[in-house]
Subunit: 333 residues, 2 copies
């Protein structure tokens, strides 16, 4: 049987168990030109919260009653005249929160489980990796010597942003929640400093660790962190708007950056990004990451939970912060 998680109702605030519907259906058969993938891992990302909202955005909202959208990696177990993929191929793509997915291959790409463990293909070599790479380098216009601040720094995207900035010769400060995450950033990933927003005031943290200000702020969080970064922006500073996890479960108004006039004072730029715009350049990023991983310059952590039945509880870890690195759900049984 194919276990699936469907969107059952649109949440107000934090998703609850009634947001989802669990069901078990027959494993489908591939039609002509299709393959059937048995999914091993499912990517859990903050962006998924946005896809639950019925508003115009960079992507269609997930429809009520359909399988929850998610990035996946798995193995082709049946193929029906597929022009490109055969049984035994491993594919990454948008399989959704289910154990088996049918596809004509559109939006999928082949991965090699002997080159890197499968979970990395939905982490550093997948959407979070691409987001970090093009976000900091293209949108953030990173230059050697920049002082870089990143929020959500121990997360899948933030941890890569910081490490790329270190590779490029920058001073890097991360904001994360809790001593363990902050220690991880500094001791394992080589960040210059970390601010624990759970115990430290961000403004004092920045005063201490970025006394000269910030050239690039990579924002995954929004809210107070965005305001604090604006307050410390240097001349011609850049702010990359990648996410706003602090605001995703707001039932009220989104907290806009009260300090945005710092953009005027400092001739700053705030720019939003969506990773899908860079699909044609993913190859460059994968090549760089592969090299950096091999050289030990990039480290990644995948935080893997098991069981599709645990999707809801695992998903909530994105917002409670109870995870380290890339959050992944293993759905193969």
């Amino acid at each position: 049987m194919n276990k699936q998680i469907l969107l059952d109702s649109r949440p107000e605030g934090l998703p609850t168990s009634s947001t989802w519907k669990f069901q078990s259906v027959e494993i489908p058969e591939p039609k002509d030109g299709e393959v059937l993938i048995r999914q091993h891992y499912i990517s859990l990302d903050p962006a998924m919260r946005g896809w639950l909202r019925d508003v115009k955005s960079y992507i269609e909202p997930v429809a009520i009653g359909s399988v929850m959208r998610a990035g996946t990696v798995g193995e082709v177990i049946k193929a029906n005249n597929h022009p490109k993929y055969k049984v035994g191929d491993f594919l990454s793509g948008w399989g959704g929160v289910q154990q088996y997915s049918l596809t004509d291959g559109k939006g999928y790409f082949k991965v090699d489980p002997t080159t890197a463990p499968l979970p990395k293909y939905i982490g550093v070599l997948g959407m979070p990796g691409m987001t970090a790479y093009f976000g900091i380098l293209n949108v953030g216009e990173l230059k050697s010597g920049d002082i870089v601040l990143v929020s959500g720094a121990a997360g899948a995207v933030g941890s890569l942003v910081g490490q790329i900035a270190k590779i490029k010769g920058c001073r890097v400060v991360g904001i994360a929640g809790g001593k363990d995450k902050c220690d991880y950033l500094v001791n394992e990933l080589g960040f210059d400093a970390a601010i624990d927003y759970k115990t430290e005031n961000i403004y004092s943290g920045l005063k201490k660790h970025c006394p000269e200000g910030i050239d690039v702020y990579f924002d995954n969080v929004g809210g107070e962190m965005l305001d604090a970064a604006l307050a410390k922006l240097r001349m011609h500073g850049r702010i990359v708007i990648c996410g706003a996890i602090s605001q995703y479960n707001n039932t009220g108004k989104v907290q806009g950056p009260s300090n945005y006039m710092s953009l005027l004072v400092n001739r700053g730029t705030m720019r939003g990004m969506v990773v899908f715009d860079y699909v044609k350049q993913y190859g460059e990023a994968v090549a760089d990451y592969s090299k950096w991983l091999q050289e030990g310059k990039i480290k990644t952590k995948e935080d893997i939970y098991e069981g599709i039945e645990n999707f809801h509880e695992t998903f909530l870890r994105l917002f409670s912060g109870e995870k380290l690195g890339k959050l992944i759900l293993k759905v193969i049984e």
Copy 2:
């Protein structure tokens, strides 16, 4: 005697008469290398409100007890071995809110009262003109065919922004307060439409006049207008942060743009500007404006009040909106 307006105390909220001190002092004598200017006109600009704040900004705050900073235009009536300027020259510069100013000439430039009336040198050919020109063309990266929205559209900067955008082949919508101003924008300046924020809801106005959205928003106002523009931003839209007059007299927190995540959805850019960065290019702008004025493609209105004693009441017109075009105080008696 030289009548002067000094900053007497830093206002909370809207400046009051006790913000200023009026005094009458001896007309000073130019020292070696200086000239004495008899000022004709003083420029009143929203930016002056910012200069009253004791915070780090793009320019030093005006010190308590010193003559209020202001752009001026006047005539040299005494010169003491000045290498460049002589009696009878007309100079524009930072003379401050006073009738006579001494200067070594730094920051001043010569103007020709036979080419354009003196008030234009502190309007279209002065700071507001330069702000509009470099703001919309350089910071806003204006392209022919863009849909342009400008707030404070009947003001010194906004009215020029809109007219430049029309010259460059754009559709232009202005936001202004009151029917007279809106009529002026459409009937005299050639804007495609105007939204009267005093009687119309901005969101419905934008729905009506910018159904396809906005490519460039030139923001002089902030607050609700910035949020409405963000809500209608098109893909790769640009927002020029030039001012935030709705927030300048706030005693509470500045209202940050709650819709800023539209920058992500639409891959938008929000960028701040300060006109002083373009000093070296002012010549280009003056050349273009002179041509456009001659061809009748740019029209300007100077709203001139008289008497340095009326500085405070006149200055408040910037915030009440009771003026049309460039606000100027005539101080010559």
